[in-house]
């Protein structure tokens, strides 16, 4: 009974099958993006050919993107909107989440049930009145239309934070109370720093949602100067239907910042999902 005999155990076969399956799945996940990348570097004629790698990478396609749409302007807008709303959401939802989780006031529990109820309401019901609200307030076609609705938080974000705060031990807050902290101090100094996983989840979800949002910018924005990247891409799609390489180049450019954020935040984000019990 030597080492050699152990090496050919069925385990090796199992390993090969496993890695092969994983590679197939990973390819399925990646191939549209890879195909877009390859398309973005081809000439308009080459695009019809089944090659993965272009003959001569046409980096000029990427340059053309900037000529065709105000990329940096839109990038700035997307970052501005996503950033403001994310910060606002995190702050106001965690504040309210803390209140719902730990501070007793009259009507608290009924109010929370009401919050839960709104979670059920589909976007389709609220979008028309929200549109009208913005119209009436004269905020259409302004950056405020993109920021104000989400700035003070949402029911979902508050629900998330409240669930999370309930998992923190009571002693944390009790020690602070004994030390003489006011509720604000408890929130700001003690609970919020401990809430990193949940904050991470909420911030990333919010950021991604605002960055990728399509319907709302479509309804609210006319001027390109305040448009988001997402809206810009669709407009470009409408105007330059046959110029696939440039369209793909634009798509890749828009993908990249998010992929970067994803690569950095992924681990914390996934852990956050487990911790906040989002998975049922």
């Amino acid at each position: 009974m030597g080492v050699a005999q152990r090496a050919f155990k069925p385990n090796v076969l199992r390993g090969v099958v496993l890695y092969a399956t994983l590679t197939v799945i990973a390819t399925c996940a990646l191939f549209p993006i890879l195909w877009a990348m390859s398309g973005s570097l081809k000439t308009a004629g080459e695009v019809t050919m089944p090659t993965l790698f272009p003959a001569h990478p046409q980096w000029s396609n990427y340059r053309d993107v900037f000529a065709v749409m105000p990329f940096w302007r839109m990038f700035f807008n997307s970052v501005l909107y996503a950033g403001c709303v994310s910060i606002g959401q995190v702050f106001f939802c965690s504040l309210a989440g803390y209140a719902f989780a730990r501070l007793r006031f009259r009507g608290r529990d009924t109010l929370f049930v009401l919050y839960l109820g709104t979670l059920m309401v589909p976007l389709t019901v609220t979008v028309i009145p929200q549109f009208i609200l913005m119209r009436v307030a004269g905020l259409t076609d302004t950056p405020w239309a993109m920021i104000v609705p989400g700035l003070f938080g949402s029911a979902f974000g508050t629900y998330l934070m409240r669930q999370f705060f309930r998992t923190l031990p009571d002693e944390l807050e009790e020690a602070a109370i004994l030390d003489g902290c006011s509720p604000w101090q408890i929130y700001w100094r003690i609970l919020l720093p401990h809430a990193k996983p949940a904050v991470m989840v909420l911030a990333v979800l919010t950021w991604v949602n605002v960055w990728n949002d399509f319907l709302w910018p479509l309804l609210m924005i006319q001027r390109s100067s305040i448009a988001t990247l997402t809206l810009g891409l669709v407009r470009m799609q409408g105007e330059y239907t046959a110029r696939w390489p440039v369209l793909m180049a634009a798509s890749i450019l828009i993908l990249l910042p998010l992929l970067l954020v994803y690569a950095v935040a992924q681990r914390a984000f996934i852990r956050g999902i487990a911790v906040t019990g989002l998975g049922g």
Partner: protein, 313 residues
Amino acid sequence: MTPIDATATAVARRRGPSGRRARAGRIFVAPNLTAVAVFMLFPLGFSLYMSFHDWDMFSPAKFVGLANYRSLFAEDPLFSIALRNTVVYTVGTVLPTVLISLAVAGVLNRKIKGIAIFRTIIFLPLAVSSVVMAVVWQFVFNTNNGLLNIILGWIGIDPIPWLVDPKYAMASLCIVSVWRSVPFATVILLAAMQGVPENLYEAARLDGAGELRQFVSITVPLIRSAVSFVVVISIIHAFQAFDLVYVLTGRNGGPETATYVLGIMLFQHAFAFLEFGYASALAWVMFAILLVLTVVQLRLGRRRAAQEERSWA
């Protein structure tokens, strides 16, 4: 206790530390509550109100009672088309998504070397915008130079007009939708699977269970609540689909209304035809359907659990 004493203690209570906390609670909740009231509750009520009127935002609103609802159900041929398309789309998205993500999560739920890289790659589509992906997939589905037709050409099949032919448009839409939904579902299911204690699998191995058996008898039952969650969320999301459909197959619901779903119908009536009353009625009908679906699902889930408990008696 005399009434005077009772009031005195009540006042004292309000001024004490619990009173301070209650006040802080109300202040902390206020901004968030305002936002929810203005952007959630008010729209909820207002859209219901609107659904009983005819309104185009320029002329004054005209009260029409249930006329909108009546024409929706009885007179509008597009409603039944949209409803049917939406149901097909929902089933065609949720079913494959759940099955595929169960399998993928099962494969990812291991501690082998390099698994982290695979997980990162497979979750990548999560980070990508629906819109961007729709643009990219348009390229993939392109009849003349799309990747899919190129690959089919290699095995000798004629190019399929994926997005142009009404027969295939819905299938293409579902493919993209599934591709988009699987990573999200997989993240949730994987997180749930990782909550299953390791020594349950050890006990099962000793009991004679092979890998597949362990997956079916232990992993899947123990993540049942996560699966329910994924199903419910996916249904709600698919039912209201708009972004993907608009960008992939156009604002009119694809070739010969092949992908004319309720989300597109709503958008059309509200923002193209400016029929806010009618669109609001449609929105409420969708809401009602979703509500019923969710309640039915919850009930079914509870009854299934009760049944299983009785099966071994």
